[in-house]
């Protein structure tokens, strides 16, 4: 059956190409990681969500500039008399198997995505119930007023109830595969033609897509290439049309060739150092100097961000002042200054704090998670050493890293954070609120920075409808945490994509690759 639909699509697109006289454009793109699954609710990871955004759609979606726009919902508004949001659904939308989309599918997808087996259930923690009002109206009822809820579900993808249930995939696959792991049926602009995990995945346009088609592709092939040098070679040899990401050091080589171009942008991920706020002792059993704010300030003044940018990051990064980059909603313009680089100030602060001769501590970093992370830490360690803070650097692969941080095995650590909701509330919830497993807050606050006022403000920020009052509270949190030097924000990680010159793509700040914006000229 699926084969037939695919054939019909191919035939249709071939006819279309003949009638309009355009040639068939097959587009091949590569990235370092294969999506682990095609189930939109099983893994909350960028490779999966990015890929599936081409196949499935949510109630809302993000535009080229990350703004929220209507998708399967045409409009949404607060429910009268209750906390929550009412979504008016688009009529006439069909899934790729031809079934019609309606409110039942939204309710079903909510139940599936919020089940225990789902990895995206945290998106629905504010939701108490979902009610179908009529075939094209759905209410998401929340505990408290939640102004950001529509923004937070842009990656909540809608599945067809009948298709999913009849294929025994009513729950996301947790440990064993099910039908949805390697098959898909979304409402999006592309549909899965074939999938060979780890080797090649082929998509073709979904002819019945409801929105206006902007791309001119007849087929799109995805190949994962793990080795960065190999993927750059594959691009330069012409075998693939697009690759993301490319190493910073290869950008020049690609740009120097006439048939290729590099797209540089800024990811929303801020790279920072974290402190052991509540450790009594350092790993070497000496007293923890970082509990003194002057020591943390000294560390911040010791960092020469311009030198790091120039030497380690090839001049491609923007220095960061807070845990989200400028442009993210809730960014605090009032607090956009960074501690200036000044080794003398740093030494004076250390002397004030009682460490005129400095001290030794252990700095823990990843070596395969962020762009040039090991080189960054090496550079930072020498900058700390220059003011008397003798950093003993250990680097570990990311697969071991989080476990060691959760076991408090660090004196200072590297962290990169991208706000999943693209709002400043996100890092407050995960990185600044006191660790609280019951409320599921502060789960990535490894050093357990804790400030009663920040904890008090977080729920208010989450509830506040009035934008200026909300911004006021966020500004207060940012100011407080900058004063406390809760973290040392360093810079925003750059995005580097490379493509053939005749291909136009749109680089979005979340590093998602969106096929519907690809045109081959």
């Amino acid at each position: 059956m699926k084969q037939l639909t695919t054939q019909r699509c191919l035939l249709a697109s071939a006819l279309l190409a003949l009638s309009t006289g355009t040639q068939a454009n097959t587009f091949t793109w590569a990235s370092s990681t294969d999506p682990q699954t095609t189930d939109p609710h099983a893994v909350n990871a960028a490779p999966v969500l990015s890929f599936l955004n081409n196949v499935y759609e949510g109630l809302v979606r993000r535009g080229r500039d990350m703004s929220i726009e209507p998708s399967l919902a045409t409009s949404w508004s607060p429910i009268e008399g209750k906390n929550g949001w009412r979504f008016e659904l688009r009529e006439g939308v069909t899934f790729q198997d031809g079934a019609a989309f309606n409110a039942e599918d939204v309710l079903f997808s909510y139940e599936r995505a919020s089940s225990e087996a789902s990895d995206v259930r945290s998106w629905f923690s504010p939701v108490t119930s979902v009610e179908v009002v009529d075939d094209y109206t759905v209410d998401f009822v929340t505990k408290d007023p939640n102004p950001l809820f529509p923004d937070s579900i842009a990656n909540f993808m809608i599945m067809d109830k009948d298709w999913t249930e009849s294929n025994d995939a009513a729950l996301p696959a947790r440990d064993a595969e099910n039908f949805a792991t390697a098959h898909s049926n979304g409402t999006g602009p592309f549909q899965l033609k074939s999938r060979d995990p780890g080797v090649k995945t082929v998509l073709v346009p979904h002819e019945g897509w409801w929105d206006t088609v902007e791309h001119n592709l007849s087929e799109a092939q995805f190949v994962p290439i793990g080795n960065a040098a190999t993927s750059v070679a594959a691009l330069l040899s012409g075998e693939i049309d697009f690759v993301s990401p490319i190493p910073l050091q290869d950008a020049k080589q690609v740009e120097s060739r006439p048939d290729f171009k590099v797209l540089e942008g800024e990811e929303t991920r801020v790279i920072m150092f974290g402190f052991p706020h509540e450790h009594e002792k350092l790993l070497d059993d000496s007293a923890n100097p970082f509990t003194d704010v002057r020591v943390r300030q000294a560390a911040a003044h010791a960092i020469n961000i311009d030198a790091i940018n120039r030497v380690v990051m090839r001049g491609k990064v923007k220095p960061a002042s807070q845990l989200v980059p400028a442009g993210i909603s809730g960014f605090s313009d009032a607090n956009s200054g960074r501690p200036e680089y000044n080794p003398d100030t740093a030494r004076a602060l250390l002397a004030d704090a009682g460490y005129p001769d400095g001290f030794s501590f252990s700095l823990k970093c990843t070596n395969d998670r962020y762009i040039n992370d090991e080189a960054l830490c090496r550079a930072a360690a020498s900058m700390f050493a220059a003011v008397g803070m003798d950093a003993q650097l250990t680097t570990v692969p990311v697969r071991n890293y989080w476990k060691e941080l959760r076991a408090d095995d660090f004196d200072m650590y590297l962290l990169g954070w991208s706000p999943g909701t693209f709002d400043a509330e996100h890092p407050i919830r995960f990185l600044l609120h006191t660790q609280d497993n019951e409320k599921k807050l502060g789960s990535w606050n490894f050093g357990n920075y804790s400030n009663a006022r920040v904890d008090e403000l977080l729920p208010q920020i989450q509830r506040e409808i009035d934008p200026s009052a909300r911004q006021g509270m966020i500004d207060e949190v940012v100011k407080q945490t900058q004063q406390d030097v809760a973290y040392i924000p360093l810079y925003t990680q750059p995005l580097m994509w490379a493509t053939k010159k005749n291909i136009d793509v749109t680089q979005r700040a979340d590093n998602f690759f969106i096929l519907k914006w690809v045109t081959v000229n």
Partner: protein
């Protein structure tokens, strides 16, 4: 003979169990699978629940017992990364690795043996010295550097050969082969060359050393005195007597070629077992790593068994059941 084989087979089961056990006790240090399987927003409670469901909190011995017990019943479990059945994932990847290994071996023999004979017969010629030097460079430079250099020369600069993947493949039943298409062969050349360089050098030097020794022996001198043609002398009398030890060593090396094709497969994005293993390490995919290591142990055991049996065939003294 039957007793010999049975004994060796029984031993091999223990070898595989031992490998599995050592692997299992090391998996704890590879990393935390749960943090790889879940997103950043997944709560610690949900992570803990998943960890318990997967049995990762159980004591090592209990996990090992469960794994080996399932293995003995032919159940390989499901991958943490893709949720596919591990058995199926591995079976799908075997053809790519075997084909790559065999072609690399064939290249190394086809080039290595004649080159070895030549360098033995004309040890002082300019060409011989050049051959010895280049192959020495070939084994000294790390495999991934050779691979990347070949890719940039033949793939990017000259544009003759593909830079990654297997190219066109055909299905012969369950076996997915790239040996029946032109495209497939083009894709195979560079990785096979990269993988074969070490073998080639080894073969060449081995043949050269053996050949030089044989050419000094008395029967060659007598044969020369008898006036046998040089061609027959070199190939019939010389070479065939050097090949027995060469074949033994190359056979044993083949296990290594297949098991350690990891680097080559990663450089060329060659979808074989090695690449699968590498991806599994990155994601702490314990079920796949476990089955892969046991499979490689089996592979080595079987090759060793075959070599032992061949010895017994060649050398009658080894057929004695027990020396008292």
């Amino acid at each position: 003979m039957t007793y010999f084989i049975a004994k060796r087979l029984l031993q091999s089961v223990f070898v595989m169990l031992a490998v599995a056990f050592i692997a299992f006790s090391l998996f704890r240090f590879v990393g935390d699978p749960v943090s790889q399987m879940t997103g950043v927003e997944t709560s610690l409670a949900d992570q803990a629940r998943l960890r318990a469901e997967l049995g990762l909190d159980d004591p090592l011995l209990q996990q090992f017992y469960r794994f080996s017990n399932n293995l003995l019943q032919g159940e390989f479990g499901y991958s943490y990364r893709t949720r596919q059945p591990v058995g199926q994932m591995i079976v799908e990847r075997i053809p790519a690795t075997i084909e790559l290994g065999v072609v690399a071996l064939v290249i190394s023999l086809l080039v290595g043996i004649p080159a070895g004979v030549y360098t033995a017969l004309k040890p002082n010629s300019f060409f011989s010295q050049g051959l010895l030097l280049t192959t020495l460079v070939g084994v000294s430079v790390p495999t991934f550097v050779i691979g990347i250099m070949l890719i940039f020369l033949f793939g990017v600069q000259l544009g003759w050969l593909p830079t990654f993947g297997r190219g066109g493949t055909l299905n012969l039943g369950a076996w997915e082969t790239s040996l029946l298409t032109v495209d497939g062969w083009k894709s195979l050349v560079l990785p096979a060359l990269t993988l074969g360089v070490y073998q080639l050098t080894l073969t060449m030097r081995l043949v050269r050393a053996e050949m030089m020794e044989v050419m000094q022996s008395d029967y060659i001198r007598f044969a020369t005195a008898r006036g046998i043609s040089y061609r027959r002398l070199h190939y019939r009398h010389g070479l065939s007597n050097t090949l027995v030890p060469v074949i033994t060593i190359i056979g044993l090396q083949f296990g290594g070629v297949v098991a350690f094709s990891i680097v080559t497969e990663s450089v060329f994005q060659w979808p074989g077992l090695g690449l699968l293993f590498l991806e599994s390490i990155r994601f702490v995919d314990i079920p796949v790593m476990g089955v892969y290591l046991v499979l490689i142990a089996l592979f080595f055991v079987v090759i060793n068994l075959i070599v032992d049996l061949l010895y017994a065939v060649i050398d009658p003294r080894l057929r004695v059941q027990k020396a008292v």
